[in-house]
Amino acid sequence: MEWLRELCRRLGILIRRERFDRDLQDEMRLHIELRQQEHMGRGLAAEDAHAAAQRRFGNSTLLREVSGDVWGWRWLENLGQDLRYGARALLRTPGFTAVAVIALALGIGANTAIFSVVNAVLLRPLAYKAPDRLVTILRYGDDPVAPANYIDYRDQSHSFEAMAAAEYWSANLSGSDPAEHLIGLRLTQNLLPMLGVEPLLGRVFTAGEDQKGAEHEIVLSYRLWQRRFHGDPNLLGKPIILSGEGFTVIGVMPPEFKFAPFWATNAELWAPLAFGDQIHNRDANSLRVFARMKPGVTLAQARTEMATITARLERQDPGTNSDVVVTPLKENVVGKVETPLVVLLCAVGFVLLIACANVAHMLLARTSDRQKEIAVRTALGAGRSRVIRQFLTENLLLAAIGATAGLLLAMWGTKALVVLSPAKLPRVDMVAIDAPVMLFLLGVTVLTALVFGLAPAAHATIGNLTSALKEGGRGGTDGTHPSSR
């Protein structure tokens, strides 16, 4: 805990930096004056006594700096100094600064915008509980299966904690407002619990409600509830008319809930699925099957087991169970857009690289103009690493300005992308500038600054000090261009 207290003391010093420095100065001055008095007491003249006291004390400026080092904020002071200096240097060449900022803003902005889409579509996990264990069981990876087959998969497999099915459904909602055609899904009772989602209001289906005759209960999407029923909390338990049949509203799902994520994505109604006499049907392929693998079961194990089961069923009833594929749900959702998005990300990456190259070129030309300044700094005792750090700070400042402009561009750009994106792009409505995107932006900014700045900085510190000083003496900014040497 002592280090924590020490940190607090350090921070205390940082906040009241000037006072600490003044205290130290006062204290040192007192010391020298007391020593001087002592010398004068022994008969020395005031001036000699002062000089003797100073001699014995040492270099008080240096000592003040050493004390400052003890406080441990030297790096921050250096950084502040470099930033101020860098800002002045950038303001001196407004044309260069503007062009560089625009180039970087375009590069960084495009990357951030595309990454925010990649992040929302590809990287973010599905909004269900433990989504990595969710799979789909579909023919050819895409197509539905028949009820009797689903029931055999469910009863014969051991790899899955739960297996559930969904069937496409649509209905006309009539009532006070004009009738509306709605997309819905009929779900086996265990599907929503398997996803691990809770309703916002009311409840979801309970066991037994997927029996024939008990299927007239309905769960609404948040959007539908708001749009058609104005978010009326008393809607629960009330009847609504769908395609002429009466349904009872039992629940409303939260706004972020979506099901299914890869097909029937705009479903707004969920009703129980009852098989009735369809239970022995092996030909009416109407069910999309979803399952949750048991913890510890691998995809390969689940696939092997399902292959065995479907091969057996196929032997019994040829043509009903060929090409049944177990696919991770996530892959079904984003698999088709993964490659195009990655290609797009690479493309904007190259745009940024080109922007970096352009800025680096301009910086290089500018560095040549600044040879004299560097020579002066070096002559006054700045180490090579110190000069490089000054340049890198300046470049980081430039990149940060570019990134800020780029972020604004990306905020506008993502909105445009969402509007312009094909309807098929899944989860595109979740695109947002969030924490991972900001981290990406930060990383890209630092990397950009390094890429476009390291070469000019290194170049700036190589070279002949004397000739740079002499050349500078003639005209100041007419230094020779590096490529002409």
Partner: protein, 110 residues
């Protein structure tokens, strides 16, 4: 004039701690003088280096400082040992004694 030796590196903290432990509250000038007098003018603190050392000790929490007024009515910063400083002094003393005894044994004529 007696020959004055510089303080061996690393012992400055111990000397300051010991001086403060012996005399209670002191300002920097008094600490420097005290070390010199008690060592009978053999040890001379490189006077200025006292202050960076005191700054570090403040940070470590071995001493606290407070502004006060000297007998001559001058504003001065008075340092005082903390409990942590006492512990530090004890640790440094025992380490120093161990090392000194070991060196003495090595240097002893056979």
């Amino acid at each position: 004039m007696t020959q004055r030796d510089e303080i061996p590196p690393g012992t400055l903290y111990m000397l300051i701690l010991r001086t403060l432990a012996r005399q209670g509250e002191m300002h920097g000038y008094a600490i420097a003088n005290s070390i010199q007098q008690i060592s009978q003018d053999v040890l001379q603190v490189e006077e200025g280096s006292l202050y960076p050392a005191l700054q570090r000790m403040l940070l470590k929490g071995w001493v606290t400082a407070e502004w006060g007024v000297t007998a001559g009515n001058r504003r001065a910063r008075y340092y005082r040992l903390t409990a942590l400083g006492r512990k530090q002094l004890a640790a440094e003393l025992s380490q120093y004694e161990r090392v000194a005894a070991a060196i003495a044994r090595v240097l002893q004529p056979a």
